[in-house]
Subunit: 359 residues, 2 copies
């Protein structure tokens, strides 16, 4: 992050000059795309004030708007992952899953997607073919149609192979409206699967890292799990969130802040695969901040927790589902973890990014 620049303030006729350090906020840095504190700040200070409206202000995974008597969920995401193809998926399937999942986290099934490609001049068409084919297969698998698209080409060195925006719409059922604002004291925090796989698969796929691993991305559409959860809880799912950029830690911090509740996690119950743990330790990363693309966090009232967990485990995506903690009245806005050794530590938002460009 060598983007800081120094400006020189001139004091008029005496010709006195004094180097004034310019804050990193004078220029965009990679951390602004991290899903951490800098991302939140960028949105809060640079975007939201201009676009001020109630829907955007809710900061959910998707927007709910009324149109023609229907309640419609709308969500958008641009994918800039590198490499374009990685163990377990590619930017194409990821672009479908990512937006379908954001809509699913609002409680709705994505019905239609639009797609916008920004292609760097020189991209081999066979790569484009594979990725578009993968997108199409991912869309078919979740019964979503890609109904509109746009293609732009930029010169060599002005892009990075391929960026893909997907935007989706789905129909909201007013009887099922999970929201990050609805966490309630007593809710049990469930994770639908083992964490850290997507981020570590991307990390391993980057040549520069150079560790051997068989970790594959967990990229998958989460709608089937949402349906199971709704059924098992009689629609009593308070919160759904897919912990992508910034990982489980960031997702829980957002929920804690938006619902003004505390979160108390139990470290030994966290489902972390051995190979992910080993890779994280080697690289000095915390799996709680590593991105997932096929895992959801669900907050359900305690009386439904056991049923919800059992329901998740009936699905191949949910075999590693676990109850990892609960919502508490203490320390509102904070996520606290009871550690393996019996202590507690605060699981804060990171300022920037452990792994840039993982989605």
């Amino acid at each position: 992050m060598s983007t800081d620049t120094a400006s020189v303030a001139s004091f008029g006729a005496v010709g006195l000059t004094c180097p004034t350090p310019v804050s990193i906020h004078d220029r965009i840095v990679l951390g602004h795309g991290s899903g951490g504190k800098l991302s939140a700040q960028l949105f809060r200070e640079r975007i939201l004030p201009h676009f001020q409206n109630e829907v955007l202000q809710r900061q959910e995974d998707g927007a709910v708007v009324a149109l023609g008597g229907a309640q419609i969920v709308l969500s958008t995401d641009t994918f800039v992952v590198q490499p374009l193809e990685f163990p377990g998926g590619d930017i194409g399937s990821l672009a479908v899953h990512g937006t379908v999942n954001d809509i699913a986290m609002m409680g709705a099934r994505a019905a239609h997607l639009t797609v916008g490609f920004v292609i760097e001049e020189g991209l081999p068409t066979v790569v484009l073919d594979r990725i578009v084919s993968s997108m199409a297969a991912a869309a078919r698998a979740v019964n979503v149609t890609i109904v509109a698209g746009d293609t732009k080409v930029v010169e060599r060195g002005k892009g990075d192979g391929l960026f893909i925006n997907t935007t989706g719409i789905g129909l909201l059922d007013p009887a099922f409206t999970p929201s990050a604002h609805r966490a309630a004291v007593g809710d049990v925090i469930l994770l639908s699967g083992a964490i850290g796989r997507h981020g570590m698969a991307i990390m391993a796929a980057r040549e520069a890292i150079g560790f051997d691993t068989t970790i594959t991305s967990d990229t998958a559409a989460l709608w089937p799990l949402v349906e199971l959860l709704r059924c098992a809880t009689d629609s009593n799912v308070h919160v759904l969130r897919d912990p992508t950029r910034g990982g489980v830690a960031s997702a829980l911090n957002e929920i804690a802040a938006m619902s003004r509740t505390g979160m108390l996690l139990d470290e030994p119950s966290l489902p972390i695969p051995g190979d992910v743990m080993a890779a994280c330790e080697m690289l000095g990363l915390d799996p709680m901040y590593v991105a997932n693309e096929g895992v959801l966090v669900a907050l359900v009232p305690p009386e439904y927790a056991a049923l919800a967990l059992t329901a998740l485990r009936t699905h191949p995506l949910g075999v590693d589902a676990a109850s990892i903690g609960r919502v508490v009245a203490e320390h509102p806005g904070l996520v606290v973890m009871k550690t393996h050794v019996g202590g507690t530590r605060i699981v804060d938002l990171l300022p920037g990014d452990q792994l840039p460009r993982i989605c």
Copy 2:
């Protein structure tokens, strides 16, 4: 377009090698983003076969989908224009107008937009501020709300300052469904304003070009003109299209192909500003292929043509509106121009691009 590469085919044991030119279709070239023949080919051969569905196959400016009993128009566009700020607008206002206009060309008023930013590390935040502010102002002016967004940051040299995707939704009135498939023999072809301004303003703003001009982009939201046209024609507008990438020539070729009709244009009636004409002549460009961002093409039955033209001229955006030709039974799929000197010439699709990255 120096992206062609040569491969060497080896003929086994004899060691005979022979350089085989590889077609440009083995790699993406700038022309694939031009809005011309290469763009159409890319879509037809590389995208459509994978995403095969009736809505996409219609190749309109937007998709019409049914959701919750409503007929919804959905359209997406990614903006990669350089420079980010140019006389008459910037990438922010353009990103709002572009998608709002695509929805307007389907006969619908855009209600909500999503926005996806891809920011290159190092972009000055003051530039981002100005552009986001400009987007917000453009959205307010057309009463559209920006309800969801996403921000990604890529490393220096992996982007180009800022790319913006906007995706919009609007409600279709089944009583008003202009479509590029509906051109009918006898229809009069109207242009709502003078052409070539956006493309030439961008051209002039690029340092390398080095001609002085006061040409400003025409970027504007076209919905007010659509409302006037609908009113003046009692909803009898057959086709609406905004001639952006590829200009008026490409838009009319698309309509001719999709409706299997011929177009006969009258060159002297084309509204081309003197400064645009002069700049085009200097650079050897044809204004018929230069992008517009605040002009529409409307095809209306002859009995409504005069009323439609009068209605357009009542609006500041429509003062230069003109009738430029008509739909004919002859030469289906072709656009033919009667020239100043009394001859005729075919106005074909260009293979590639006169001006890359104008939107």
